[in-house]
């Protein structure tokens, strides 16, 4: 865990690929991609199911450890229509039932637009467009805003490091730019894409249960 200052607010970067905002008691995650394994299985590609229960258990742990009362999901909650299978939906519904007091906001991502919204009984507030929560703007895709600092996902960022002797390391990371931050993908069955940091970007690599600041 690592605390940083961003636009005057303290943000806690968690090695479980999430951000906690203490003042608003809000846990922020991106790219959950629920139902991705089911979508694969539907097309005849075998992927074990356990990732959903695992991801929800991780969420529980993070909310409890940090005293979270609100969850913000920066898009790609569902992966695809084919993934909306009863087992997965039941698992999430049970989880939601046990945490009915948790306030959840979903800013829609590109996958959500095809996969459809979560059932209304889950009591998740849907934001079709980026949502302001000053000093931040919650978005799915990284973008610039003249007013607020942007918190986004979509990219599934990873950083590659190398040295002369001893080889390279590739790790998921947080990327905090001048006006926009990109969060790592929270879901266990999601890929990664390498990013090339720009000057002034603050990169935080995640691995072996730690968050490590790379460049300032």
């Amino acid at each position: 865990m690592l605390e940083i200052n961003c636009s005057g607010e303290t943000l806690r970067l968690l090695p479980d690929k999430a951000v906690f905002w203490p003042r608003r008691k809000t846990l922020i995650i991106a790219d959950l991609h629920l139902g991705k394994p089911a979508a694969f299985r539907k097309s005849g590609i075998g992927v074990p199911e356990n990732t959903t229960t695992d991801d929800l258990a991780r969420l529980d742990g993070l909310l409890e450890q940090n005293g979270g009362e609100r969850l913000v999901i920066l898009g790609d909650f569902f992966h695809a229509t084919a993934g909306l299978q009863p087992e997965m939906l039941e698992t999430v519904e049970t989880w939601r039932g046990n945490r009915s007091s948790l306030e959840i906001l979903l800013v829609l991502g590109n996958h959500d637009k095809h996969a459809g919204h979560p059932p209304s009984s889950w009591n998740i507030e849907i934001a079709e467009n980026p949502r302001i929560d000053a000093p931040f703007l919650f978005c799915h895709e990284p973008q610039e805003s003249s007013e607020q600092y942007v918190l986004s996902g979509h990219i599934h960022p990873a950083i590659s490091l190398s040295e002369k002797f001893g080889g390279g390391i590739r790790a998921p990371c947080f990327c905090f730019g001048q006006r926009c931050a990109i969060l790592p993908a929270f879901g266990s069955f999601t890929g990664m894409r390498n990013i090339t940091p720009r000057k002034g970007d603050r990169i935080f690599a995640i691995g072996s249960g730690q968050v490590i600041a790379l460049t300032y």
Binding site: N50, E87, L161, G166, G191, T215
Partner: protein, 818 residues
């Protein structure tokens, strides 16, 4: 028929007679002979003879002949030539037979027509045959099939395509018990086994026919005029360009073989720069270049209207290019059989002399050429070992068969076990494969909604048309990194490059490909659009794989030559040429005797480096180096980079590693070999890399198919992700097991590795402190880092790398990462 043969002025060879009568007696068999000895006619004629015996009167000939002969060839490029050869007597005798191709290049409409009605002879590839089995009704249309021929069997043997062929043959034999199988192979060290693999459980009755007529082979080595300038390392051999040009000027048509596709591009560029007037006289040929361009080069070779074709293994196989006068081999041959095969590309007629000229890329390769010449003289050829029950191929085949005619378990398991590769398939493995295709994984694991193959009361079928379509798209066991098509903007397709290479380029970057100077414009939908530029410059793509290891036969030969050199014996042109370099090695360090393990320790500014020389070939060294680095890192916390070649390997590290002779002895101990190997495999990520191929064959990972649209886009994923998910949630998954086994057996040759360790345990360790890089060490120093082993903490390493980044950034004024 015999008259047709003699009318052409040909007399059948003994082995052709032998094959003809064996065939007519209903036998199967394997024919081995050097290329250019008439193997094709040995097996293409008897099915015609048999038919003529059935229909002796021309007036009784039917209008058309249903399928009688199925011809499998590993190379699409060969299919056309083969079809022409088969067709020649048919045309001349005006027989009502039809001959057609069916390969990946055959158009969809022709393929659909063929499925309606097969020709009398179908020439196809293993993948296309497998695809045929995925359609229902194939069996009925093949009812009159008498014989299946597998061409270039030595090339398929020991590969997953070979296993795929075995499974297809098992299916055909199950359908038609009297079917004859004939294989054609170049000479190998293990011919009887090659036959047994091809025949499966039908092996005992099959013949082995030798067409091993003495073929004269002349081997010549280019010795550079100025030996002082001969480099100690490098793989290009461009320093021999002037000599090579002289040889090219002397002969009418030359095949210039290199060992990798990149070298082909580099040599083509160098030849053009030296001789711009040859621009229409030379061509380039390798597996990634567009088919039309390759075919043009092949056509000109056949016609003898081209001076030189720069090529790789893509022209190793039996296409008949009679006008080729000489063959030049750039860089080490790596194997005796391969050298013979390449030499045989010239003088491709019975009785003609084959000439091969060797161009060593660096000094030590002279030793290798000297050893290869001796091995050719002694007829000491390598074996190609068959693969043992790769489950990914079986999984793919089961879906193929379920999709085609469907199967029932008891019959199918017997059929699969009739093949050589799966003769020892256990009941548990079979159970797991069935579970994998019907449930997605083991019954106890959670894989809801999964359905690929349906078990409908014992009938296994694929009811979902989408799954069928996806499966057909991914059939094929040839695996490569996902390939990006290279196309000129609003122009021709040039070929394909691995995605990883294009991924490193930015629009505007220049590179060479297929002999063209190109600039990248944009990448879209798995296509790289390029524009031609004037000057050949910029980077040359590197293709994955394709690096052949030194065979153990040749490794032994090299050690013997070195040992002679140590005793002052320099026999032959090559050894005399390399004498001065070997003498430097001996005075700066030592030339190891066969019973010595040489370890050179060199303190340099950036750390202490060790160069270790077991001379066991790069595959063994890959495993050995990982093992040794792992064990060394247990004694001293360090990050170690590993480089290797066919002669030895190097451990490069910034940390100070200092071990005594006794400690080195322990590092090379045979005890705990498997445990330690598995431990370092995980850290070296080798199994993860091997899993890429397995995931693709087993149908877990889809490549981006141009035009396949959204359905597959949402299913794209990396094999690495699957590897992680399986490791965490389904560690008993047999495909993971297979990845580890394949790494151990194929990549690291664990049995050869064990033998090497045993040899080393009996060797004397000779530790030499050197002051500078020796001729043996220098190539290792100069080569790319192959693997990394670390015993440091993840966070420590990340912090150190971050610090290096910051230092680099403060120097350049900006942050840069890989």
């Amino acid at each position: 028929m015999l008259r047709w043969f003699t009318n052409r002025g040909w007399t059948p060879f003994d082995f052709q007679h032998e094959t003809w009568s064996a065939y007519l007696a209903g036998q199967s068999g394997l024919i081995h002979a050097p290329t250019g000895m008439g193997k094709t006619f040995a097996v293409s004629i008897p099915p015609l003879l048999e038919w003529l015996n059935e229909f002796p009167e021309e007036s009784t000939w039917p209008k058309s002949v249903p399928m009688r002969l199925l011809w499998i060839t590993p190379l699409r490029a060969l299919a056309n030539d083969t079809a022409q050869s088969i067709l020649a007597p048919i045309t001349d005798l005006e027989m009502p037979w039809t001959v057609q191709l069916r390969t990946g290049d055959t158009s969809a409409s022709v393929r659909a027509k063929q499925r309606e009605r097969f020709p009398s002879v179908l020439v196809t590839t293993p993948e296309s045959l497998s695809l045929l089995l995925s359609y229902s009704g194939t069996r009925e249309k093949m009812e009159s099939l008498r014989c299946v021929v597998v061409d270039e069997w030595h090339d398929l043997l020991g590969t997953k395509r070979g296993v795929q062929t075995e499974l297809c043959l098992a299916r055909l034999r199950n359908w038609f018990p009297n079917l004859r199988t004939w294989g054609l192979s170049a000479t190998l060290g293990n011919l009887e086994q090659a036959r047994d693999v091809l025949m499966g459980s039908a092996a005992p009755k099959a013949k082995l026919v030798s067409g091993d007529l003495k073929k004269r082979i002349e081997v010549e080595t280019m010795i550079p005029a100025d030996l002082e300038k001969f480099p100690w390392a490098g793989h290009l051999g461009l320093n021999l360009l002037p000599e090579v040009l002289k040889y090219l000027e002397r002969a009418r048509t030359t095949l210039l073989f290199t060992n990798t596709r990149s070298q082909t591009e580099i040599w083509f560029r160098a030849l053009l720069e030296a001789k711009p007037e040859w621009v229409n006289d030379i061509a380039l040929h390798h597996g990634s270049i567009d088919r039309a361009v390759r075919e043009e080069a092949e056509e000109r070779l056949r016609a003898g209207t081209i001076r030189c074709v720069v090529c790789t293994a893509s022209l190793d196989l039996g296409v008949d290019f009679s006008p080729v006068e000489q063959v030049i081999q750039i860089g080490a041959p790596k194997g005796v059989a391969r050298m013979l095969q390449r030499a045989g590309r010239s003088g491709h007629q019975p009785g003609a002399v084959s000439r091969i000229v060797c161009a060593p890329a660096h000094a030590l390769e002279l030793v290798e050429f000297s050893a290869v010449r001796e091995a050719i003289g002694a007829g000491d050829l390598e074996s190609r070992l068959p693969l043992e029950r790769p489950l990914d191929v079986l999984v793919q085949h089961l879906v193929t068969v379920a999709l085609g005619s469907g199967f029932r378990e008891t019959e199918m398991i017997a059929e699969v076990r009739a093949s050589y590769a799966y003769r020892d398939l256990t009941d548990e493995e079979w159970r797991w494969c069935i579970d994998f295709v019907t449930r997605g994984g083991q019954a106890l694991k959670v894989y809801p909604q999964f359905s690929r193959v349906k078990n409908d009361g014992g009938d296994f079928t694929v009811p979902d048309p989408l799954i069928g379509r996806l499966h057909r798209m991914s059939v094929g066991t040839i695996t490569s990194d996902s390939a990006v098509t290279v196309r000129v903007v609003r122009g021709a397709r040039l070929g394909s490059i691995e995605e990883s290479f294009i991924g490193r380029l930015k629009p505007g970057d220049k590179f060479s490909f297929a002999g063209h100077a190109l600039e990248l414009v944009r990448v879209r939908d798995m296509t790289a659009y390029v524009r031609r530029t004037k000057k050949l410059s910029g980077v040359v793509p590197q293709w994955m794989g394709g690096r052949m290891p030194l065979s153990s036969q040749l490794a032994k030969g090299v050690r013997k030559k070195l040992s002679e050199a140590r005793r002052g014996i320099y026999e032959g042109l090559e050894m005399r040429a390399v004498k001065s370099v070997l003498e430097i090695q001996n005075s700066w360090s030592r030339i190891p005797e066969p019973d010595e393990l040489l370890i050179e320790r060199l303190q340099m500014r950036d750390g202490v480096h060790h160069f270790i020389f077991p001379f066991a070939g790069r595959l063994v060294h890959e495993g050995l180096a990982a093992l040794v680095a792992y064990r060394v890192s247990k004694t001293t916390p360090a990050s170690i980079a590993v480089t290797l070649n066919d002669y030895g390997f190097a451990l490069l590290s910034a940390a100070t590693i200092s071990l005594s002779d006794d400690e080195w002895k322990k590092i090379f101990a045979q005890e705990n070999l498997l445990d330690d190997l598995l431990a370092c495999l995980n850290s070296a990520e080798l199994a993860r890399r091997q899993f890429r191929e397995i995931a693709r064959i087993a149908g877990l990972v889809f490549q981006g198919y141009p035009g396949s649209g959204k359905t597959t886009r949402q299913l794209q994923s990396s094999s690495g992700l699957f590897f992680d998910v399986f490791t965490k949630y389904d560690p008993e998954n047999l495909l993971l097991n297979q990845a580890r086994r394949e790494v151990l057996e194929r990549q690291l040759e664990v049995s050869r590795l064990g033998n090497t360790l045993k040899d080393v345990s009996e060797m004397k360790i000779v530790l030499c402190e050197t002051e500078r890089l020796t001729p043996l060490a220098f190539p290792l120093w100069a080569s790319f880092v192959q693997a990394n082993v670390t015993s440091e903490k993840w966070s420590e390493r990340v912090k150190r790398m971050a610090l290096q980044l910051e230092m680099a950034a403060s120097k350049e004024g900006q942050v840069s990462t890989k």
